[in-house]
Amino acid sequence: MIRPGRSLYSRIILVIALVFGVGSVILGTAAWFYARLAADDAYDRLLVGAALQIAESIYAQEGTISVDPPVSAFETLSLSANDRIFYKVLDPHGAVLTGYDDLAAASANTGSHEPLISDGEYRGFPVRVAVVGRLVSDPVAPGWAHVVVAQTREARIILARDLTLKALLLVFAMTGLAFMGVLFAVRRALEPLTRVERELRSRDPKDLTPLDVEIPREIQTLVSTINRFMDRLSGRIALMQRFIADAAHQIRTPLAGLASQVDLLTEETQPGRREHQLSRVRERTAELGRLTNQLLSHAMIIHRAEVAEFETIDLTALARQTLINAVPLSLDRDVDLAFDDPPEPVLMRGDGVSLREALSNLIHNALKHGAKTRLEVRVFAEDDAAVIEVIDDGPGIPASEWQRVREPFHTQSATGSGLGLAIAGDVVRAHGGELRFRERSEDGFAVILRFKRQHEAPELRTGGDAS
């Protein structure tokens, strides 16, 4: 089930909008700050210019210091059209020559040509104040005269606002462009995914060959995972198809035989022969049942090899239980059964069900085709390996046949399906172990299963919970 998560687009848009939003606020604040500086800088020049013009008009004549503020000074200040202007001129003794008497001179700016600019307030209006000094070199009253010019901030605020607005406009334009660029880039970046999707959708359902599209590095893992998945899927399907074909073939032959036996049985009138025919039918039916069981168990093994989760298993307990379950109540001959186990449990990680199935198949095989008088199951640990050996005193399998018998349906015997070894082989393969044979010796013929051993078990599960 695919849960519909938030769209990739909306996530990207959200993040970018957040970044741009915060960025705009920061940039806007910075722009306002700089715009104020710029506006102050621009209008301060006018302010100082006007103050200097007034200072220039200070003159000394016969011991009296006087001033004649030029109209041009006021015209300079009126360039900021709506601002109020306050000023005063002080002679070297601090007496007001002209202007607003109560205008505060920012500080006693004694003896400097450098204009002094500060913020202040006059008559309730926030103002910018410039103080300019002028050295009066009259012999009677030498010293520094001062000009204080104050102007309200309206034009500065308007200019600062204007500059900020324009800067913000640029920020917004850039943000918009970047936004569109990002959207475009995202769309472009996601295009390969659409291509993969289209490729998958347009495929024939039977087509499980790997995808062959040009993809960026970022989604290579995704596509290669898809490819691997399809590979496994196609492998399984091939396996199933082969299995079904084999199984069909295997069942068809005994069924045909059974049908002809039943035909014979219906035509037979002689009671003795009829009895004989009947027992043949019974044998055939039992064989068919076993074959079917084996086929199903093989199918199960194949299935479990893909899906079962491994757990820690005590191989000794598992083998013992399997042996007990596998030996039929009645045998047509006397066979010695032996179980040889070590004092300590032999642990491994694996799937109990399939291991049990593999072992019971081996035991069945040995009883059916091998063991004349003796069957022995040995479990032991050998370095890093957990080993099960199934030994019998039968004729064994010639070494030339060892490779072939691992494949399903190999046998030529009329009563066996030849699946037993194949099932065992599949299970061992699924556990990363190996299936071996040991040639017939005094000890007998041995089929050996070797698995990787687990040394310590944090949580022991007995394998004896078999059905």
Binding site: S66, V67, D68, P69, P70, V71, A73, F74, E75, L77, S78, A81, N82, D83, R84, I85, F86, V89, L97, T98, G99, R123, G124, F125
Partner: protein, 363 residues
């Protein structure tokens, strides 16, 4: 309670003292509301009642429930009164109008005015308004006026240089017969003179010529115009054109000349004090003054000149003054603060007295 009574008494006393000081300088005329009084609009102006009356009556035609009190002052008295009311943060003035635009600009600069924007104020040319607080509502050139009976047509001069020349060549004819503003008393006279002085070189020579010719200085345009009409003066310099035209229309035998070297143009200014008790009516009166109806009335009955339109027929000058290139308008703006500077004023007055030999009156 006692405290409140005391406070009330103090305020009352303050009001009375204001009333008394104003009563000395102002002449009060009441125009009762024709449609029954609901509010009172107290207009304080340095403008002739004769010029204001038609406008006030026309305004009352539009707003019949407003009683208008008109208080007439000399420009300097009006300025002092308005400044003291502004400092006291209370007042009796609802609307102030004056030909001395520099006074009003100073008051506005000091934060004494109310801000007002309307369609009417927005239509004004930029040189006749500042801060949306002070507005010019007239267009009045400074003119040279001649008595036709005393000055033959060939002696009517059209530039200042020619006028200086005339005074030099015919001293016996015009000595003691030339009049202008006493700029220490008249705000508008001072404003005109400082505009003459700023940026021209002829003004110094003109003053010297006036001094030699025994200039008669007077406080007010009306006095000068009536002296000219009666023949006590032959030539009047820098008179407000509208008053001269008014006198001519009333039958005075005057030649009114627009100076052809440059023409200083004044826009009579108006503002509404911050402590106006009836700003709503004041705004309405202001809008009326600036409206087409008010401007038409002003052109026909009060001030005769206008921003657009032609010169009155009595006036000798270019037909379309506004586009003639002679114009030096007195910009209503912070530049006028320079005119108001007290050091500059002292210096300028002493120069003027030295040149014209007129001693300051004890007032």
């Amino acid at each position: 309670m006692i405290l409140a009574w005391k406070a009330a008494l103090i305020i009352f006393a303050g009001l009375i003292s204001l009333e008394i000081s104003a009563a000395e300088a102002a002449e009060k005329t009441v125009f009762p509301a024709p449609g029954g009084q609901q509010t009172i609009l107290s207009v304080h102006g340095a403008t002739d009642l004769a010029a204001m009356e038609p406008l006030i009556r026309d305004f009352q035609g539009l707003s019949p429930t407003v009683t208008v009190e008109y208080n007439e002052y000399l420009t300097n008295d009006l300025f002092n009164r308005a400044a003291s009311e502004c400092d006291a943060k209370q007042g009796t003035m609802d609307l102030v109008l004056s030909s001395s635009a520099d006074h009003l600009v100073k008051l506005v600069n000091d934060g004494c005015a109310l801000n007002y924007r309307s369609v009417m104020t927005h239509r004004l040319p930029s040189w006749t308004r500042w801060r949306d607080e002070v507005f010019g509502f007239t267009f009045e050139p400074a003119v040279i006026v001649y008595n036709r009976d005393l000055v033959p047509p060939e002696d009517v001069r059209r530039t200042r240089a020619e006028l200086i020349d005339l005074l030099r060549t015919k001293p016996e004819q015009y000595n003691g017969k030339i009049g202008s503003f006493d700029i220490s008393q008249s705000g508008v006279g001072y404003l005109f003179a400082s505009y003459d002085a700023h940026g021209t070189t002829t003004f110094g020579r003109l003053l010297e010529a006036f001094g030699r010719a025994g200039l008669v200085a007077s406080c007010c345009t009306t006095d000068l115009v009536s002296d000219l009409a009666s023949g006590r003066l032959a030539i009047g310099y820098n008179l407000i054109g509208s008053y001269a035209v008014g006198a001519a229309r009333r039958g005075a035998h005057l030649a009114i000349v627009i100076p052809r070297d440059y023409t200083v143009v004044l826009s009579r200014a108006v503002f509404i004090p911050r402590f106006s008790r009836n700003p709503v009516s004041a705004f309405r009166f202001l809008d009326y003054l600036l409206s087409e109806r008010g401007q038409k009335k002003s052109r026909e009955a009060s001030f005769f000149f206008s921003f657009e339109g032609t010169l009155p027929e009595e006036v000798d000058g270019p037909l379309w003054l506004a586009s003639s290139g002679l114009l030096r308008p007195i910009t209503i703006g912070p530049e006028l603060l320079a005119v108001q500077d007290r050091a500059k004023r002292q210096r300028f007055l002493s120069e003027w007295r030295r040149s014209t030999h007129i001693e300051p009156e004890d007032r």
